[in-house]
Amino acid sequence: MPESYWREYLYYPGCSLHSTSKSYDESARAVGQALGAKFVELSDWNCCGATAYMGIKELTAFTVSARNLALAEQRGKEIVAPCSGCYVGLNKANNYLKEFPEVHKKVNAALSEGGLEYKGTVKVRHLLDVFTHDVGYEKVKQFVTKPLEGLKVGCYYGCQIVRPRNEIDDPECPETMEMLMKACGAAPVDFALKAFCCGGSLMGTEEDIGLRLVKNLLHSAFRSGIKVLVTPCPLCQMNVDAYQKRAGRKYGMEFDIPILFFTQIIGLALGIEPKKLGIGREIISAHEVLKPYI
């Protein structure tokens, strides 16, 4: 057994990981444990605000995020968010409070109503960042017991994990997930739209736009010979999984490309039982594609 990486993080699941993206929660925790990244759930966390608050009232958007940052600051550890939306929301609040002291002051005035204060010392991380830059590809490789040889996996990043600019990866042509997939023995396949938008919440408000964007993505993945997609974002997973058939019907195409969370694939390579990784919760079943590896 190789020596495991050891570090404790404050785990911020966010609302999606408790509902539509349960499999992300299950697999993130299982993989973290297997690699030695200890995830302690931030107690009594609240919603990050997503993209909704920012479109209505700015100060409430920063405050709703900042309550989480204040709770994390009391614990003195880095926050790790698996959801790209949460990551952007928390990170944005964190950066803006630094850049605009007058906003920071108001946020603290609001927080004090609940007996909290945020000084500004917390670092917000994304799960993909932790697995690639803290744990590292080499370490992951050492723990792989079932290399996923020949698995043609497409890495779908979506938007909010690489943009706006951050330390994780290139904003338009990221490749950290491909490196992780390689470490797992799989054969990542590049595709043109890997960092393009899935439509986000527009799938609810303007379905035609959402379906068109999902169709474009799937078409691009299909033409590259991709058999399964992986993503670090709950909303991307949801749109590409639940609306895949509808998008195909609308454009007279037939798609059958399962989309999983990147942690589910890593978990398989680490020899973790599929059920513990939430495999089977996807609507477009990954069973056929993963059969040789289970």
């Binding site: 999606s16 005035a109 609001a110 609940g114 938007c159 938008c197």
Partner: protein
């Protein structure tokens, strides 16, 4: 270039609109826009917009307040940040799109846009519980905007529920009283 009838005289322009946008964090750089169109060309939804980000930006600077705020295109921004990373003048385009959503949501125009209602429904669930509940959010949103959407999406909902992905019970955080006090205070301090 043909002159727009609505900006024939300087006196018709609402120049304070530019200031409204300029004071939001990240909005100050809008005056640097060179109208290159990189933002619009990079935008996944601009193909449907009458006023893409570039158009909105010149209209802001021309003081066409109502025309901008009435535009449904503001609510077609998905916050993908592609414009933001590509703008050669480092303008935080996405943040300005957010600011436009905020300014327009104070006006009555926004009541007709579904994006506005989704955001409002989301906020009322979270302000009450501290967390979002996707099932309730979608119910609220569809009932308000397009009840037919509920029927249309019920099969997807069922499939999610069968896979344990659609919880029915809302979850309330423990310190909900303090949370609500914090949010109420933020609301009262907020200028936009």
């Amino acid at each position: 270039m043909t002159r727009r009838p609505d900006i024939q005289r300087e006196g018709d322009m609402d120049l304070s609109f530019l200031d409204e946008v300029r004071v939001v964090p990240g909005g100050e750089k809008i005056v640097d826009c060179i109208q290159c169109g990189t933002c619009s060309g990079s935008c996944p939804t601009s193909y449907l917009m009458e006023d893409s980000p570039r158009d909105l930006f010149y209209k802001i600077r021309a003081g066409l307040r109502n025309e901008v705020l009435k535009s449904p295109d503001i609510w077609l921004c998905t916050s993908c940040y592609m414009c933001y990373v590509r703008c050669p003048k480092n303008i935080k385009v996405t943040d300005i799109m957010y600011a436009l959503k905020r300014i327009s949501s104070k006006e009555r125009f926004s009541l007709q846009w579904r994006g506005y209602h989704l955001a409002k429904s989301f906020m009322s669930v979270v302000n009450r519980d501290g967390r979002n509940n996707e099932t309730e959010l979608l119910l609220r949103f569809f009932l308000k905007t397009k009840p037919f959407g509920l029927i249309r999406n019920s099969l997807i909902g069922l499939k999610l529920w069968l896979r344990g992905r659609m919880p029915m019970m809302p979850h309330r955080i423990k310190e909900i009283k303090k949370f609500r006090a914090i949010m109420a205070k933020a609301e009262s301090l907020s200028t936009m």
